[in-house]
Structure formats: structure tokens, C-alpha cells
């Protein structure tokens, strides 16, 4: 049986979307448990992907394909999993701060967080502090994440954190920041809970913040 779950893991690593659909259907039909497929097949596969990505041995498009492959299997497994097993590991609200229109980094982190089974609400770019606050109230995320590429807009991160304080919800969530001009030092100074200098680490840090 362990060989069978290795096949799932390998298909995730190889990005074999079609293959995994067939395999999942077949294995469920033969009586395997959905949560076992998830725990012993899919998740180990994504863990390998995560490690290789962090080591610089896998390209982002390959990682995204692996995530799509896992999703393809999850589509078939979800109805058979318990509510907690099927649920995302957490919810993240993400956006680029006010005055800044850069979005590649944010989009990359979003895709990888989704691949890591987070639910991500992407607000887009040029998001004012109060818009972050409104979104936090609406979606009640575990993490609020902010991105900026311009030094001119980086101060908006502190403003947003203040706005969350004033709305009385700062301590209901964790705050992560990122972007080329952002540093660990700056993140500490403004009281953010997490900072990552690259997308691979961002997903890891997000999980760590949730105590995963």
C-alpha cells in the first residue's frame, strides 16, 4: 500500500494532473480512505515540492503545476473528507499597499499560499489602510499580508497596522509584510508578526504563524 501512496506523491511532484485524477478515482473505487490519500500521498508530495523549491531545485511554474495536480485530486477527495480535513489551513487577506501598483510578488505569494492550502483573499493593488481594515472585518483572516515595492509606499504598512489597532482588531490576526524595500528590521520596527524575503519562505512563515 505504501507504494501506492508513493505514486500519488510522485504524480504531485511531476505535475501529472491527468494521471492523478485517474489514480484517485481508481484507488477510491478500490476502497482506499480519502484522508489516507491526502495524508500519505498528497501532502508528502507537496512537502517534497516545498523543500525542493526552497533549495532552488524547482521552478515556480513547476511548483504551481504540482499545486494544480494536488488540487485536481482534492476536488475528488473533498466530498469524502471531514469538514476539518477538507478545510483550508487558514485564511489570508493580502494586498499591495496604497499608492503602489506592483503585484507580481503578491501574486506569486498568493499562488504559493493557495498551493499550501490556505484560502487567500487577494484585495489587489493600491489598497488603503481602511480597505484592509474592512476586509479584515469581513473575512476574519488568520493573517493579513501586505506587499510594497516602492520606498514611498512602505510607510503605509505602519499606517495600516495603526488602523487595525484603532478598529480594535489588530490582535485578532497576524500581520506579514514583504516586498523588495522591506527588511526584517523594518518589519520588527512596525510591529509586524512575520516577514519573508522570498515567496518560498512566505508560505512557510505563514504556516509557522498559525502554529502548523
Amino acid at each position: 500500500m505504501s507504494d501506492l501512496y508513493t505514486m500519488f506523491a510522485e504524480m504531485v511532484i511531476d505535475g501529472n494532473v491527468e494521471g492523478i485524477k485517474g489514480l484517485t478515482e481508481q484507488v477510491l473505487h478500490e476502497g482506499a480512505m480519502a484522508h489516507t490519500i491526502l495524508e500519505e500521498g498528497l501532502l508528502p508530495g507537496m512537502n517534497v515540492v516545498g523543500r525542493r523549491f526552497k533549495a532552488g531545485d524547482m521552478f515556480i511554474p513547476e511548483v504551481l503545476l504540482s499545486a494544480s495536480t494536488m488540487n485536481a485530486a482534492m476536488e475528488l477527495l473533498r466530498p469524502l473528507l471531514s469538514a476539518s480535513e477538507a478545510a483550508p489551513v487558514g485564511t489570508i487577506v493580502i494586498g499591495t499597499v496604497e499608492g503602489d501598483i506592483h503585484n507580481i510578488g503578491k501574486n506569486l505569494v498568493t499562488m504559493l499560499l493557495e498551493g499550501a492550502r490556505f484560502k487567500v483573499v487577494d484585495l489587489g493593488v493600491d489598497i488603503a489602510p481602511r480597505a484592509f481594515v474592512e476586509a479584515a472585518k469581513e473575512h476574519k483572516p488568520d493573517i493579513l499580508a501586505m506587499s510594497a515595492l516602492l520606498t514611498t509606499t512602505v510607510p503605509k504598512m505602519a499606517e495600516t497596522i495603526n488602523a487595525l489597532h484603532e478598529a480594535g482588531i489588530r490582535n485578532h490576526l497576524k500581520i506579514m509584510v514583504g516586498g523588495a524595500p522591506v527588511t526584517q528590521e523594518f518589519a520588527d520596527k512596525i510591529g509586524a508578526d512575520g516577514y519573508a524575503s522570498n515567496a518560498a519562505t512566505a508560505a512557510e512563515k505563514a504556516r509557522a504563524l498559525l502554529g502548523e
Binding site: F53, G56, M58, F59, I60, P61, I101, I104, G105, L108, L150, T151, T152, P155, A180, P181, N198, A199, A200
Partner: protein
């Protein structure tokens, strides 16, 4: 080659006609609509008919003058004439004394241009370090002021905001002696860029229209990244870069027919392992090469890019990435090659020693560009016959006469025998570059602005702060 350029042009027109380009500004949408483009106001999408683009290209002047405070440093952009210059993006500095990374300061805004003023292969000064120790609204005015005050070379900048652009233009007007004088001799030039794919954001568009109305030379370009904001294939990324640029140029020419424009190519690849922009990629040189060919086809000068590296310090990676990339862009005839000096680390960091090193790289590339001179004096057949077999040429007047113009004379590269180099203390290139930078900063003082002009410029900075 021509057939390929034609096809790239045709496909650019097709893209703009069928998929169109987003312009996030009401006024721009109206300008396009009135000119006959198909505009979807709610989606802010413009489908541009080919004839509007062709008309625009025909109206662009073939030669653009960018004036310098000292006319001997004027930059005349045309055909395949090449100039090297600096960049407006970095926010960090590797401190000259400690070597540690720090944020840029207002003092750097004054010191970098003074350094560049003394480096002979750097032809223009794009206002280059973002000061973090001043009120943010005054940052761009500080950058531009530093350029005008501390170098006699041609000054340009990224505006970041409309207020930044207007402050810079006001400064330039004061130095020029009036609005009309500034138009005749434009002492400042700004660049506006599209956000790939096919999206001109609000600030860029508003600045573009403002610059067009003022009739000042405007750099209009794009910086797609192959693999993220453009397809991974270099040809497709170059296609997008070209189309996005044409869309911006068309808007500018409708707003002010005959406006001097410079098409801009800053596209590169994304590192598909990290998603980071690769400033030092050889592919940037290749994309720039194609853009230069298109600029020559269109007869419009080009704001080209070359000489960058993603190295974090002035090391070997910095050397070869910059050298290879700059050579490609320069040999392709990129006219206004910015980013050619000073930068490291994905356009984030400057170092004083890197300017000195890059000056030498620019010098070597300039030498490569000038090629091997032809003619009787250079063939020196009579001389060879005269010296004859088993002779030597060291004592010949011809040697002394042409030595400086024929041979590039590096200041930094060490060509001594190993023994002699060891006797000197085995200096590294970086050590020597730092020493040279210190020497320049200590001794070099460009002609200052007249006192009253300098005061007025500083007033402009203060007034920006009051806002």
C-alpha cells in the same frame, strides 16, 4: 532581419487593435476616443487602430536634444549614437567606508552626481539615489536638485509623482531662464513606463499627458518580465514591450503632435525560481538589442538599458554580468543607455566604487564600439616598410601620435607584472576603485550653480515639503 522587424511591428499593431491596452485615466480615454480609437470607458480599455499608431510614429522627431547645464555635455539622440548614464531606482547604498548596507541619504544625492561628473565615460546623470532621511514629498526634488547642483552633465529622472515632475521642471526652468528657454534647451527629461502586460496606470498616464502638454522630451517605455508579466519566450516579451511603448507614444502624439519622444526598453526575464526581476540577465541585453533595431526602423531614439548586475557587492558576478550586458546593448546602437553605472542587486543598491568600476566598463565598451579605424594613417604601410623586418615601433612618432586614441587606457585594470603588483601591496580592483572614489569626492568640484539659482532650487524643495 528587416522582415522580422516588420513582422514584430505588424503583430504589435494587431495586439493593440484587437486586445488593446488599458489606460487608467479618464482624460487619456477621452483623448483616444476623440481621435477615433475604440474605447470601453468602464473597462478603461483602448483598442487602437493601426493608422493612429502609424501617424504617431511619423510625427516623432528623428533627433532629440537633451540639454546639459554645460552645453559640452549635451546629449543628442539619433540613429545609433550611444551614450552611457546612470539610473533612478536604488534606495540602498553600500557605505564607502564601512561597506555596510544602509539607506540612501540627501548627502548621497549630492555626492553621487559629483562623482559621476568626474567619470569621463559616463555621459549623463539620471538622478539616482532615493533619500530616506528627508520628508518623502521632498525626495524627488532632492534627487533632481543634486543632479543640477553637482554635475554639469545632462540630468534626467524617474518622476514617481506629478509633483515630483513639476518640481524638477520648475528647477530646470530656473536654470534655463524661463519656460521658452527650457523648451529650446530641455534641461530635464522624465520617463513614464507601462505596467506590463498592456496596462498604463493612472500616475504614469497623467505624467505622460502633462509632459506632452509642456512639450518636453519624454521617455515612454515598458519593462515586461518574461515568464511573469510577459510570456517566457523573449520574442513575445519584446513584442509586448514594443506594443506597450507604441500605445504610450500614440497617446503622447495625439496629445501633442510632434512631441520629442524617446521609446524605452527596460524589459528582462524573471528568475523563475524566485520570481525576482533579473536586472543582470544577458537576455535583457538581447531584448534591448531587438528594441534598438525597432527604434532604428521607426526612426525614433531609444532609452536603452545595459550594464546591470544582480550581484550584492562589487564582485566577479558584477563584472561579467555588467560587461556582457552592456556590450550587447551598446553594439546594438542603444542611444541613451541608462542603468549603465553604479547599480547592484536588482536595481536596489548603489556603491561609490561600482561607479568607478562601471566607468571603466563603459570605457571598454565605448572602445569596442569605435571599432578599428581605417585609412592610410592607420594601415601605416609606409611605416611598416620603413621599420622593416626585425625592427620595432616603440620609438616611432606614429606610435606616440596614435597611442591614446587607438588604445583604451584603463585606470583600474592592473596590467603590471605580478611582482610589481605584489610590491604595490597586491591591490584588488575594488580597493583601487574605492580609493579613486574617495579621491574624486575629496578633490572634484564641478562649476557650481550661481548662488541665486541654487537658492531658488532649494526653495522649491522647501515648498514641496510645505505641501
Amino acid at each position: 532581419m528587416d522582415a522580422q522587424a516588420d513582422e514584430l511591428h505588424e503583430k504589435s499593431l494587431q495586439l493593440l487593435k484587437t486586445t488593446g491596452c488599458v489606460f487608467k485615466d479618464e482624460r487619456a480615454l477621452q483623448i483616444f476616443a476623440e481621435a477615433g480609437a475604440e474605447v470601453n470607458f468602464s473597462k478603461q480599455l483602448v483598442r487602437i487602430p493601426p493608422r493612429l499608431v502609424e501617424d504617431a510614429l511619423r510625427r516623432c522627431p528623428k533627433r532629440v536634444l537633451l540639454a546639459a547645464r554645460n552645453p559640452k555635455y549635451d546629449v543628442t539622440l539619433e540613429e545609433d549614437r550611444v551614450y552611457f548614464g546612470t539610473s533612478t531606482l536604488p534606495i540602498n547604498v553600500l557605505d564607502l567606508e564601512s561597506g555596510r548596507l544602509r539607506r540612501g541619504t540627501a548627502q548621497d544625492c549630492l555626492d553621487f552626481p559629483r562623482l559621476v561628473d568626474a567619470l569621463s565615460y559616463i555621459h549623463f546623470y539620471k538622478a539616482t539615489i532615493y533619500p530616506s532621511d528627508v520628508p518623502q514629498e521632498t525626495a524627488v526634488p532632492w534627487m533632481i536638485y543634486g543632479g543640477f547642483a553637482n554635475t554639469e552633465k545632462e540630468v534626467s529622472s524617474t518622476p514617481f509623482t506629478i509633483d515630483g515632475a513639476l518640481a524638477g521642471i520648475r528647477m530646470a526652468e530656473i536654470i534655463a531662464g524661463g519656460t521658452a528657454e527650457l523648451k529650446k534647451r530641455p534641461l530635464i527629461c522624465f520617463n513614464v513606463l507601462c505596467t506590463a502586460p498592456l496596462t498604463w496606470n493612472a500616475t504614469s498616464v497623467r505624467i505622460l499627458i502633462k509632459l506632452a502638454e509642456l512639450g518636453l522630451p519624454t521617455i515612454i517605455g515598458s519593462e515586461p518580465q518574461a515568464g511573469t508579466t510577459a510570456p517566457v519566450t523573449l520574442l513575445a516579451a519584446t513584442l509586448l514591450q514594443n506594443a506597450e511603448t507604441l500605445a504610450g507614444i500614440t497617446l503622447a502624439q495625439i496629445a501633442n503632435p510632434g512631441l520629442p519622444v524617446i521609446m524605452g526598453a527596460i524589459g528582462s526575464i524573471s528568475d523563475l525560481k524566485t520570481g525576482n526581476f533579473c536586472s543582470g540577465a544577458v537576455e535583457l541585453g538581447l531584448m534591448n538589442s531587438v528594441a534598438a533595431q525597432m527604434s532604428q526602423r521607426y526612426g525614433i531614439p531609444i532609452y536603452a538599458t545595459g550594464g546591470m548586475s544582480d550581484a550584492k557587492v562589487s564582485d566577479i558576478q558584477a563584472g561579467y554580468e555588467k560587461g556582457i550586458q552592456l556590450l550587447i546593448t551598446a553594439l546594438s546602437g542603444g542611444n541613451y543607455i541608462h542603468d549603465a553605472a553604479g547599480m547592484l542587486d536588482h536595481c536596489l543598491t548603489l556603491s561609490y566604487e561600482q561607479y568607478v568600476i562601471d566607468n571603466e566598463i563603459c570605457g571598454m565598451v565605448a572602445r569596442a564600439l569605435s571599432g578599428i579605424s581605417f585609412g592610410d594613417e592607420f594601415m601605416a604601410l609606409d611605416l611598416i616598410n620603413h621599420v622593416g623586418p626585425t625592427g620595432n615601433f616603440l620609438r616611432e612618432r606614429h606610435t606616440l601620435q596614435y597611442l591614446r586614441s587607438e588604445h583604451f587606457l584603463p585606470e583600474l585594470a592592473n596590467r603590471k607584472a605580478r611582482n610589481d603588483w605584489e610590491d604595490e601591496g597586491s591591490p584588488t580592483l575594488v580597493d583601487r576603485a574605492k580609493d579613486k572614489a574617495r579621491e574624486i569626492l575629496e578633490k572634484h568640484h564641478p562649476t557650481p550653480l550661481p548662488e541665486d539659482v541654487d537658492q531658488e532650487l532649494r526653495q522649491i524643495i522647501k515648498r514641496t515639503e510645505a505641501k
